[in-house]
Amino acid sequence: MIRKIRILSTLLLVLLLPSALFALTGEDIVRKADEMQTFDTAVSSGELRIKDRFGLKVSTFNAWSRGADESLIEFTSIAERGQKILRTEEELYLFYPDAEELIRMQGSALRQGMLGSDISYEDMTGGKDRLSKYSIELQGDEAVQGRDCYVVFMTANTRTVPYQKQKIWIDKKSFLVLKGEYYTKSGRLLKEMETLETREYAGREVAIRTRISDKMKKDSETLMIIDELEIDVPIDEDKFSLEELSW
């Protein structure tokens, strides 16, 4: 009898070992998600559609990015036309064409929302590094839009992030974040994010329509639409320069 139990235990161990060895931790999942959304280079154009109870405001843009830290965004909609933002690892340069003014900012300005929207510059560049800013907890599995997802809860370990707590649903196949909930430190739900449409570029699935709704206000949401996207295309280094910014 004892021998039978030993054999059964050994068999169970052998059967369970691979899944235990290869099971992903919360950190692994978030790292993989960050990697999948960080591109060597990207060129995109799109629009931000900010809707509130008074109607819709649309801002259009062209963006170029290299790695996680360098990006150039040019606004093309009439109210902001010609305004450009150059972001490097430690600096943000703004250019206002009417004033011919070049403004260099550092520190907290890097974290601000784009055009007062719920989209950060980090969202635009694709560069993400959530592991250094959050403690990660894998909470389990759940289906979103019929796709099997990891459910990950993240608690900020720094005050320099816009949301202290986040719950995100990461697709198990593509490692794309399909849904997100953003909370205050006390656990109050502020925003909800949903990936509405995706497209495959260079073997990676990328969100091209993302909706962020403000749970504190009625009828308020930001829709980010990527109309065109090219990934890992050659971009001249001078694209991320003051010369290009102020042109």
Partner: protein, 404 residues
């Protein structure tokens, strides 16, 4: 005046037609329309009806006025290596009295072409160059001057003056460049000078680079357009130690005459601190403190008896707090303070970007100070300067801005 107005109108129509037919039709046309309704406490202003010379002020009264500008801009992006902008401002009847100007005044705001060549860029026309750092006070702005405390904090651009100039910009790597410019001398057609005196040409240059984590900018401008031509060197620094900081210093040295006294009068330093506290992705609180220090000017309160005796005090401050609670709303408190004579002007503002391109705004402007201070609740009549003092203590303003 009417003839001048008709000429200006014809010129604008011709320029617009030229712009459209010569390629701007493929470019971008935008309209920028601002209108403000203002209730203010002010004074009757007396002008010489023949010469337009300011004579003095009369009784205080409560006024109501409408002011604003309508700007039209034609932008062209050409082949990708050329750009142009032609913009006009139609100044609507304003509260600041322009003797004899009953019709709207039309001004050329910008008219320039930029061309990009391998290794350098050329800009020619009427435009602005932003040298130095500073929202209100900027000692590095030796081209236009940004040291006066009398600014309109309700305007979308506090410093918006443009000049006819030609500039050359040469990149030195990705984050550095040198820039040179020439500004033609002032003309005096009435005095028989259709072209300016060559010796009164202004010009200069600057270098813009980074040293470590600090931006360093240094430049020089020869101001031939001044009554007594001046050498204007400056230096500007910008960095971050938590908040962003910026610092600039400049001095004016006369070509002829007493260099020491002019340098003493003109030496000025400006500084600024700026921090943006992001409360979440949308809500933010920004804080700015700027100052202008003129170390060799007055540091004790004076009691000027006439407008020409108004002292320049050694310190002026500009604190600003802006709270943005959501994507379309903005509340601001801005101040212009003169600590030496303990006077100031506070501007409370609200701005609501209610529809696409349509922003509603409101302001309350309050002056605090004695009648002979830099800012006065009720300005002494013999100190009245019409270009600065049209508000006598208090104004409430509401209006809108439309860009499309």
């Amino acid at each position: 005046m009417v003839v001048k107005g008709i000429r200006t109108g014809l010129w604008i129509v011709l320029m617009t037609a030229f712009a459209i037919t010569s390629g701007w039709a493929d470019g971008d046309v935008s309209l920028d329309f601002t209108l403000q309704n203002t209730i203010l406490r002010t004074r009757e202003i007396e002008y010489d009806t023949d010469t337009g010379e300011f004579l003095g002020v009369g009784d205080q009264y409560w006024g109501y006025g409408v002011s604003g500008t309508a700007g039209i801009s034609f932008k062209s992006s050409g082949s990708g290596n050329t750009k142009g902008d032609l913009s006009f401002d139609f100044n609507l009847p304003e509260m600041e009295v322009i003797p004899g100007a009953e019709a709207p005044v039309i001004t050329l705001r910008r008219a320039y072409v930029k061309a990009r060549f391998p290794g350098f860029r050329l800009t020619a026309g009427k435009t602005r160059l932003g040298w130095g750092d500073g929202f209100v006070f900027n000692s590095g702005d030796v081209i236009f001057g940004s040291t006066s405390p009398y600014v309109d904090l309700t305007a979308s651009e506090v410093r918006a003056e443009t000049k006819w100039l030609t500039s050359l910009n040469i990149p030195l790597g990705r984050f550095s460049f040198v820039e040179a410019l020439v500004i033609p001398p002032p003309t005096d057609p009435a005095g028989g000078m259709i072209a300016g005196d060559l010796t009164r040409t202004s010009g200069g240059g600057r270098i813009y680079t980074r040293v470590g984590n600090t931006k360093v900018e240094a430049g020089y401008m020869f101001r031939g357009d001044e009554e007594d031509p001046l050498h204007r060197p400056y230096i500007g620094l910008q960095g971050n130690f938590g908040p962003d900081w910026y610092l600039a210093g400049s001095v004016a040295l006369p070509v002829r005459g007493d260099a020491a006294s002019v340098a003493e009068e003109s030496f000025n330093l400006s500084f600024g601190l700026f921090h943006l506290q992001q409360l979440d992705r949308i809500r933010s609180l920004s804080m700015r403190l700027e100052g202008l220090v003129m170390p060799l000017q007055e540091w004790e309160e004076q009691g000027p008896q006439a407008a020409e005796d108004i002292p320049v005090y050694g310190l002026l401050l500009y604190p600003e707090i802006v709270y943005i609670p959501d994507t379309s709303l903005q509340y601001s408190v801005r101040g212009l303070l003169s600590p030496v004579d303990l006077s100031g002007q506070v501007t409370l503002g609200v701005s609501w970007d209610i529809l696409q391109g349509f922003t509603v705004n409101g302001y309350l402007i309050i002056n605090a100070g004695d009648s002979r201070d830099t800012f006065a609740w009720s300005r002494e009549t013999d100190l009245w300067q019409p270009q600065f003092d049209y508000i006598d203590g208090l104004a409430v303003s509401a209006g809108f801005n439309y860009i499309y």
